[in-house]
Each structure stands twice: as structure tokens, then as C-alpha cells.
Subunit: 479 residues, 2 copies
């Protein structure tokens, strides 16, 4: 019956490939209403996938009313399969943009379920956000006429861009307001660059693992990834040259300041080498500076953009990691013609970011609240980092190794015994713990976990680490 | 020298094709530094385009420092062309997303130049926006703890979705909060649908002219347009059937309530016919309801979504046209699996819309401010509509015909003598008037102008209409 198999090398998740295949069979009439679907174990064998993949795919079809369980056991094509959902079901597998990874979809959903301990969440706990100051700023704005309720110009609020220009200068980046585009978070900057600057079929180099593997902005735009190995100082220079030549890479993406997910801080020497090597290759750089302000041990190294004499670096920043994700504000800094091209696409995507958010952010920066907040925040993050590292010493000695991050949010836990990430995710979830497994950041990874000390409270961190250690010890002993 | 010619049928603007071609010649070394560029008249002849297209293309290359004018006249490839702009120039013509139409780019820029009379702008004048109420809302929020500074769930703020669910019920649309996705303006809804539901190469049917022709969300996703003719009751039913069969269309896009740009209100009978015809074709509908609340003469007809028994209609709404563009808030209403798919892509695009904007909007709807504001706004728009129609009677009798819109912002002016839109746009600009010419909404149109009574003040409307009539009378007499 089934000779088709999913493509293991496709960026489309296996369960989506399977549900799309079954949809096609059903909607083409190959599997008319009443058709018996093979048992799950059988489907696993036929498709060469594990049980959870089959369950997810069948769940999607069931949610659409296309298949149904029978009282006597077994699953069949629903009698109503023909005219369901206004004909939309075939559209759900269409469109050029890939769906999120299933684990990312699950995380996006589960983060709003109360009671779960979020051990991997890449954002500040609500208690670390500057709520009082933000309320004060709203109070000031409520007394001042000339609220910006209309559209802003394509690059975003000039007032905010001026404030950012000053802010960036303190990290060594000289950027005129006309070289800054305001975006809805750094993520939107990535999206605009993916569809605005890179042709389909081009390749970007990036650290492996990387945050970028967990989203599909670039792959959906037909851009390929070439992962570069890292050591404790950042991406390997030899790999840049070799892979740039082999892939004719169009761009290098890097998170030099407290890399997501590994927490690695690229060394000063490595930064210079990256700039030199890419200059020789005439290779543009996309620098993701989302975490760079969150240094904990010593003041920050200059971003790559601060070392850039040629206008070869695009630099991304955001208020989401340090101030408030909810403002949804980030920025791209680069040569004016590039910024104008990206602004033009942003105008076609959403006509600009919230003017209210932009006004609040401008006032936040102008008022000097930012530095005071960061100083306080660094203190909090240092305590949280210390607490997590102590918990790991107590509960993970012998089970895993880990780095001591000099900033950012993340500890990259390397298990001594590899474990299937999906199984680990599920077991932890049953114990009330939400994990970010390493495969989100490198599809072939079966050994790492991204732990975050930014989100869970100290009691939650303790309970979560203890529960996790128990699960891992149990399984590791099984092997 | 030049055997290449731009492709007149490509959605890529001619000037972009020309600048891309020249860039390729320069960066490949075919045209080394110092190469003399042919005179503009010669380029016009060789490429088969008009002067302004050549001027725009050369201007782009000049802005990048790749060509320069010489003192003795003529233009040549700049000596610095090799190492300019960090190698970015070749990237400006790359990327899968098309640039805006040049006229749209110009409008986006010129709208922020002071002193211009904006006769076509599709937004409310700042004085019509509810600034006092918004300040009052900010004041209330400044006193209440629990500001939402973190991310919201994938569908957007539940509080706002509940408020919208009630609001939609008043227009006859029954939508559970789980069937509503909050977007950054209705435009983002279009973008998500373009990349999320439609495969590359598919076709959508739409009114011609249409707002959708002025943006590139769908074409950039590889989706083709098939325009349907309209009469005074909306799109022609016979065209739907014929074109759906011919193109195997995947979707029908329509603006039944005060169509942009023509101002046409689809009749009740036509709405029923559209629903019946598309039901027989099993054709999903994308209904753009951006203007539907802005009825001026009689309470609104039910939106297509209110007539939808099968979950076959996706409905778009927004606060931008009636309350505040700056909030950047819109919504998509549809079957839950479709909404979930779009939410997943939104999470990959920008992780959600501003939580501050969403909170303000929820309060706006909950507080009953919306209906009071609309009642007042309708009065203002009625006066403005009357003023514009009177001005047209006085100054355009004998020059043009126009409709009397029953709501929305637009009068669709049909000139008795066709005029080249680019020339008209430029001449008006020199007279201090910014126009939205008909070719933005139908590339082959050379006869229409979209006039808006929502933006310019009454004295500006008068001065603008007088200036425009003079330009048109002058040229029409020339012919």
C-alpha cells in the first residue's frame, strides 16, 4: 500500500510530510471515506519514523475531521472528509513558508500553560522586567498631546532612531539615524534580510548549533545553511575559508556576544580574525547582537560592527532580551542603501512597527532608564547564574558537562550519554518541565540542552534541575 | 553594445531591471571603472523605455557610488566601483521579495515631506484620530500594575481577541477568540496568507483595479493575479466562473465594503451571488473588511463572512482606517486550523504584535469608545465627502466623471482624456500635490485617480483640486 517515504533531509518536518501525503491520498479520492488506516506501529515501520511522528500526523488529520477513531479500534477516513473545513485542509500544507519545527510549535503553545517549569526559555522572567518605570512612562505620555497615532516614516520613528544612534555609540558603533531601520524585534530583521537580500538557492555560513536553525525565515526564502564548528572562542576561522569557497556563500551569520544556544563569547582575537578572513573573501556579515548588552563578568568586547571599516556588517539589536519582549522592537544597522531596501520590504510587510511602542522605547532610552536597569538586571542575572551552576554541580556531576557563560542567558549542557531529544522532551513535560533540546539548534544533536537562568524562579530552577537529573540518570543507567 | 532589453511583463519595475543589468556589467568587470555610459536619450532608445525610467536607474547606481557625472558632461563608471558599500550593491537586487512600485516608494517617502497636499492618502487626517481618548487610556494603564511586557500567545492577546469577538458579532460575524489571529495591520494578514496558504504558481482572482496590485506580498510569494472586471455593484459574477475555471484559481480576494480604490459598495444581491458561485466552485474567499465600518449613508450590508456557513471565508479587519494606523493592529478571522497555520508563521515573522498596542486596543473596544468615535467620525467624513464632491462639480465638470461613494475614503476619478500617470504624478508634485494615480491599482490604467477625502484639510482639498484641474485642463487641451 505505502511505497512513499518521507524525505529525511527535507526541512519540512516529518509529520508534516506524512500528513500532507495522507491528505493528498484522501482528497484525490485514493482513500475514500471509510478507508481503514493502518495501525500506528505499522505506519511507523512503513514510513521509517518513530511513533510520536505518526501520532502527530494523525492528530493533524483528525483535527481537520478527515479521519476518525472507530469504537472497535482502528482509524478510518471520515465520511465527512469530502466537504470539510470549507476546502481549507489542502491549503494547510501549501504556502512557501515552512511551519515551525513541531517541538517549537509545542513550546510556543506550552509556554502559555500555567504550572510548567520553563528551564530553557530565552526571555527574562516577568519579575525582571521594568514594570514600574514603564507605568511611569505611560503616565508621562498620557499628559502630553501629540501622541503619534499615524504611520511613521519607512525607517521608523526618527526620535527613536536618534536615541538608538546615541545608545549604539556607547558600544562603539557609529550609526547615523538614516542607517538604522526599526523592526518588530530582531526576528523581523532576519526575516527582511532573508527575503530582501539573498536570492533563492544562496548559502549562508553560521555557527552550528545556532538559534537560526530553530526558525525558518531563511529556509523558507530558499536560502541554504552551512554550519561551522565552534570552539570556546567562537566559530573556527579555518572553517569559514573552506566553506565559503565550497558553497560560494553569500553571507556569514554570527552571534558573537553570548551565543544562542551555547553561551560562548567570541574572543577579541577571534573577532579580528573573522573580520580579516571575511574581508579577504569579500563576504558580508550579519551580526546578531541580541545578547551583547547582557555581560556579567567584564565590560563587553567591541561588536563586529564596531570593527567594520567597509560597511560590510549588518548589525541586529533588540529590546526584547534586556527590557521588554512585548514592545516588539529591534533594529538593523547597515549601509543606507541596504537599510532602504529592507525598509521598503518592511513597508510591504506591516507598514512599520507600533508607534506607541516606539514612543515608549524612545523615552526609555532618552530618560537614561536603560543603563540603570541594566546594572540592576546584571546583578539579578549573576545570582541566577550562580544558583543554576551550583544546582548543576550538585545534581549533574557525572551526568553532563557544561560551560560557565560570561553573559547572556544560557548554559549549554552536554550529556555524557546521548538521549533521543523527543523522548527527553516528553518525559520532562510529564514531570512538569519544559525543555529546549539541542536538536532545535542543530537537527543532528542528541546530546545537549539549552538551560536558561533568566526565566524560571530559583525554587523552580531547583525543582526542575532535580527532576531533569532524575530522568536522565534513570535513562543513562538503562543504557 | 546593448542587446539586452528589460522584460515589460515582469513585475520587477523596469528601472530595477535596468539598474540590475548595469550592476552586473560593472561588477563582472565588463564595464571597468572609467567606462563611458551612453547618454540618457540613447539608453531610452536602446532599452525601449522612457526618460524617467533611465533617470531612476542611473540615480540608483549613482547613490551607490558606482557611476558619476563628469564635469565635461557624460557619465562614467566610478573609479571606486570595485570596493564600494562593502560589496552590498549586488545584494540590493537580490532577495525573493519584490521592491515596491517606484511610485509607491516615492509616495511612502514624500508623505513625510511637509507642505505637500496629499489628495490620495488612504488614512485619516491626524485631527480625526481620537488623541484625547488614547491619552486617557494611557493614563488609566499607568495606574494599573500587570502591564503585559512579555510575549503574548501565538494568536495574540486573549483579552483583545475576546473584545474583537464581541465587536465582530455586531457586524454579523460569529467568531470565537480561537478563530481570531491578531496581526500588525491587515497588511500583515495578507502577507501571512500569501506565504502560508498558497503554493508558488497558484492564482488568485481579485477585482481589477485593486489595492492588492499596489503591494507585492502575493507576487513575491510566486502567486499570480487574475483581475475581474467590476460594475457599480461589484465584481462580475460571470467573470468569476470563467476565470476560476481557466486559471484553476486557489482563492478569491475581494473588498466588498467600500472598495479600494473605486469606493464601490458591493450590493446585497451581488454578495449572495458571490457566495453561491464560489460555493459551487469550492473556492475559498479572502474578504478584506478594512473599510466596512466606515459607512456614511446607511448601515452596512452583512460582510461575506457573515454569510459564510462553511468556513470558506477568511475575513480581514483593522483599526488602521477607523482609529489609529500607528497602533498597527489588524486581525484575520477564519477556521481554527487555518488561523493556527497563520499564527505559526507570524511567530516566525515577528513573535507577535506589540503587547502595548494590543492592551490599548482591548481597552478601547471594552470601554465603548469605538462606537462613539465612529459616530462622530462618520459626521466628519460626510462633510468632507460633500466638500470634495462640490469641488469636483465646480472644477472637473467636462474633464472627468466620478462616483459618489456610500462610505470609505475614496472617489475614483475617471478622466475623459487619458494621461500618462507618471507625467501627471510629476506635474502635480511640482505643483505641491501628491497623487495616487490609477496605475498603482491596475498597471495598465492611464485614466483614473484615487482621490481621498479623509486626509487633506478642506482648504488643502480646494487648493489641490484647483491645481489638479488646471494641470489636466492644460494637457487635455494639448491633445
Amino acid at each position: 500500500m505505502h511505497r512513499w517515504k518521507p524525505n529525511l533531509n527535507s526541512p519540512v518536518p516529518l509529520h508534516r510530510q506524512i500528513s500532507a501525503y495522507m491528505l493528498e491520498r484522501i482528497s484525490s479520492g485514493d482513500w475514500p471515506p471509510g478507508t481503514q488506516i493502518a495501525p500506528q506501529r505499522e505506519l511507523c515501520r512503513l514510513f521509517g519514523v518513530n511513533r510520536s511522528t505518526v501520532v502527530t500526523a494523525l492528530g493533524q488529520l483528525s483535527a481537520l475531521g478527515l479521519i476518525e477513531g472507530r469504537r472497535g479500534g482502528g482509524t478510518r477516513v471520515s465520511p465527512a472528509a469530502a466537504g470539510q473545513s470549507g476546502g481549507w485542509h489542502s491549503y494547510l500544507e501549501e504556502g512557501s513558508h515552512y511551519p515551525n519545527l513541531p517541538a517549537v510549535q509545542a513550546i510556543n503553545r506550552l509556554e502559555f500553560e500555567p504550572g510548567l517549569i520553563r528551564l530553557g526559555t530565552g526571555e527574562l522572567a516577568p519579575g525582571l522586567l521594568p514594570e514600574q518605570t514603564m507605568m511611569q512612562i505611560l503616565g508621562e505620555l498620557s499628559c502630553q498631546p501629540q501622541l503619534p497615532l499615524s504611520y511613521e516614516e519607512p525607517l521608523g520613528s526618527l526620535r527613536l532612531r536618534k536615541a538608538l544612534s546615541s545608545q549604539l555609540a556607547s558600544s562603539g558603533i557609529q550609526a547615523d539615524p538614516s542607517s538604522i531601520l526599526i523592526t518588530s524585534g530582531a526576528l523581523q530583521g532576519l526575516q527582511l534580510i532573508a527575503v530582501g537580500l539573498l536570492p533563492r538557492g544562496s548559502t549562508i555560513l553560521l555557527e552550528k548549533p545556532s538559534y537560526l536553525y530553530s526558525i525558518h525565515s531563511f529556509q523558507s526564502a530558499g536560502v541554504k545553511f552551512c554550519g561551522l564548528p565552534m570552539d570556546e572562542e567562537g566559530m573556527l576561522i579555518s572553517a569559514i575559508s573552506a566553506e565559503a569557497a565550497r558553497t560560494r556563500a553569500a553571507m556569514l551569520y554570527s552571534i558573537p556576544g553570548f551565543h544562542n544556544p551555547t553561551g560562548v563569547l567570541m574572543s577579541a582575537q577571534r573577532r579580528l580574525e573573522v573580520m580579516e578572513t571575511t574581508a579577504a573573501l569579500d563576504l558580508p556579515i550579519l551580526e546578531d547582537g541580541a545578547y551583547q548588552e547582557l555581560w556579567l563578568d567584564s565590560p563587553p568586547l567591541p561588536p563586529l560592527k564596531a570593527l567594520d571599516q567597509e560597511g560590510r556588517v549588518l548589525h541586529l539589536g533588540t529590546l526584547s532580551k534586556s527590557v521588554s519582549p512585548g514592545l516588539r522592537l529591534g533594529w538593523v544597522v547597515g549601509p543606507a542603501p541596504v537599510i532602504d531596501r529592507l525598509a521598503d520590504i518592511k513597508m510591504q510587510s506591516d507598514y512599520g512597527s507600533s508607534t506607541l511602542s516606539q514612543l515608549v522605547a524612545a523615552r526609555w532610552l532618552e530618560g537614561g532608564y536603560h543603563e540603570a536597569h541594566l546594572t540592576k538586571l546584571r546583578g539579578e542575572l549573576r545570582s541566577r547564574r550562580a544558583a543554576l551552576l551550583e544546582l548543576l554541580q550538585v545534581h549533574f556531576a557525572g551526568l553532563a558537562a557544561w560551560n560557565i557563560p560570561a553573559g547572556g542567558f544560557y548554559v549549554w549542557l552536554s550529556l555524557h550519554t546521548p538521549l533521543p531529544p523527543h523522548r527527553l522532551f516528553k518525559a520532562a513535560l510529564q514531570a512538569g518541565v519544559l525543555l529546549n533540546t539541542g536538536d532545535l539548534y542543530d537537527r543532528s544533536d542528541g546530546r545537549h540542552l539549552r538551560l536558561s537562568y533568566a526565566y524560571a524562579s530559583l525554587p523552580e530552577l531547583k525543582a526542575g534541575i532535580v527532576a531533569l537529573a532524575n530522568i536522565i540518570r534513570h535513562w543513562s543507567n538503562d543504557k
